[in-house]
Symmetry: C2
């Protein structure tokens, strides 16, 4: 019997957690290293909206469809502590201070006109991202995975140049047969050690309201015109835990090197709060549970990075899912397990997302 | 049929939530007003340790015993989403960098000597405070309570001087037959409107680690001597959700008027982290889930304020539970419901905690 393959995963977000889950399900021994907090950035603060076919016509379509199915399977297999549920999903328009003509939803004010149904319980669903991420990690641990604190500061290479582990900031070495970079927007820090393309951070603000059962299992994608004429495109999702998550107001400031320093832009939460309170009587006076900001990882061509790092045996990357990280985490983890353990991803071919398609970034060297 | 009694509760922490729960269970219509976040301070960040008889010999003993029993009842009645569970509880000593002689626990390093068992599953238990608070609020809402955002800026008085509601910062009035101040350390702000004693904020720092199932259902109260000779008294609790909560490093800085501005003291989390990693191999490399700081409400005589405000009909206060807020929330809520609806608290007499025993604070007028 050969010893289980040991895989060091840098980053305890949804992608790292899903990769650890599928690796450990196939007999490998992953060790997840996190420098900040488990689910500490987008994996703890994003919306968790899932759609079967909203990536149709794009290279991500098959990955998304597979992942949508895996979400349902995982919720059933792992007792669903993360509130996975199917949703009715609507699109709508509103303008500040105006009454809109058109179809209504009972939980929305008459400033909102529904323009169409964008999804049904067959095609749209929701998870609470932080609990999803920690739930996958716990399931991985039950299968032999390890999760630990640590800041990667370099890679261990053998004489052939192959990656054999990670060197931590305190000098400790965590050995492995392979290393996966799954650090979201902070994956750009790994360009100091590996020929990886740039990953950028796209910032979003969100609020979580306590609503009890005032809003049914629905999601709303809204086009909202402020009195100033500026248009925002908020998304509002009713979660199974009696809260509502809402986002809008994006920006592209510099990514802080330390995730602890991520904070909301001045006035962004206030603007989002005013909007939410205006469009729904159920949100008009609902108390707030959390005010959040996070960065989502995006690449130069808008597609994720999933695969082996060119010319560096043992090095892999999985990130860059932009706003679809929670959706695509399961199928990405499944694909990574196939690539690392068998040299090929199934059932979804991820060759299209190989990092070698983009030029390596040298800006941090 | 008379209309249900409407009670305005200022503060959506554990005390406000428990008061809303018991009021609504007895047919009243509470409305909880929160200016910051639901469970946004100590009710979301404290340890949630419960003990049957650790207040023995003090005036709080009967309240604590009743509350310990109510916690078990509430967990059973409300499906326990907050991870209520019984614990083995130990005391221990350790000194930085030294090996200790004495009894051991398997999850602790040999720097820790166990000095005694402080509690058993019959006498000690744990809840996750944020989920407990939101769970009680949701149960209250199912019984007709309302929870809403709003900042109290004054009180409505009728011609007789009785309190008839709360005036919000935006000018709106929330009417009620009674008003309860349950704003934790920020209850001191209500001394601008009511003859209430001072409430102070006692600051604590905590960390939450992701440990999976590495640590059994145990709590540890430790005396830890740092290399400098300074002694800390950390508390470490293993939660049902696969995390471990640890605190130490207290201070008494000024309370920020806005709860959003509460932040950790410089170096406090780092000091606590170093301690935790030293005393338990299970924490040595466990990743962190949250770094927190909060203020607990304390009074001049160390006892809670529970009861009617002297000379102001319709005004009540419930706060000042210091480190026992999560433990005593249920019995305090039960007592408040009795006081407000029937003029007397049962089964625990809370006359000893009447706010009139202390001089009103005038420092903010």
């Amino acid at each position: 019997m050969t010893r289980p393959k040991r895989v060091v995963i840098c980053g305890a977000g949804a992608i790292g957690a899903a990769t650890a889950y599928f690796l450990s399900a196939h007999g490998a021994a992953p060790i997840v290293i996190e420098r900040h907090e488990v689910a500490g950035s987008a994996s703890g603060k994003s919306g968790g909206f899932l759609a079967l076919d909203w990536c149709r016509g794009t290279p991500v379509d098959r990955l998304a469809r597979r992942s949508f199915a895996l979400h349902a399977e995982l919720a059933e297999r792992l007792a669903n502590p993360w509130g996975y549920r199917r949703l009715e999903t609507f699109g709508g328009v509103a303008a500040e201070g105006k009454t809109a003509r058109g179809a209504r939803r009972p939980w929305l004010s008459d400033s909102v006109a529904i323009t169409g149904q964008l999804g049904s319980p067959d095609t749209t669903a929701l998870v609470e991202p932080r609990t999803f991420t920690t739930g996958l990690l716990r399931a991985a641990e039950a299968q032999g995975a390890e999760v630990r604190q640590g800041t990667a500061s370099g890679l261990v290479r053998d004489a052939s140049g192959a990656v054999r582990g990670v060197i931590l900031e305190d000098g400790e070495t965590v050995e492995g047969d392979a290393v996966v970079i799954a650090m979201g927007p902070w994956s750009v820090l790994a360009t100091r050690w590996l020929p990886l393309p740039a990953v950028y951070g796209f910032k979003g603000h969100s609020l979580v309201f306590h609503t009890g059962d005032a809003i049914p299992a629905e999601a709303l994608f809204l086009e909202y015109e402020e009195a100033s004429g500026e248009v925002l495109t908020p998304e509002i999702f009713a979660r199974a835990d009696g809260t509502v998550w809402a986002c809008a107001v994006s920006s592209t400031p510099a990514l802080p090197v330390d995730p602890r320093h991520v904070a909301g832009d001045d006035g962004a939460h206030e603007r989002l709060e005013a909007l939410c309170r205006a469009v729904s009587p159920a949100l008009a006076t609902a108390p707030i549970v959390a005010r959040q900001a996070c960065f989502r990882p995006v690449t130069e061509d808008g597609l994720p990075l999933i695969g082996a790092v060119p010319e560096v045996p043992g090095a892999f990357v999985a990130t860059g899912h932009s706003v679809w990280g929670m959706l695509n985490a399961p199928a990405t983890g499944e694909a990574m397990a196939g690539l690392i353990l068998d040299g090929a991803a199934t059932p979804v071919d991820v060759a299209r997302f190989a990092p070698g398609r983009l030029k390596p970034f040298h800006g941090l060297r």
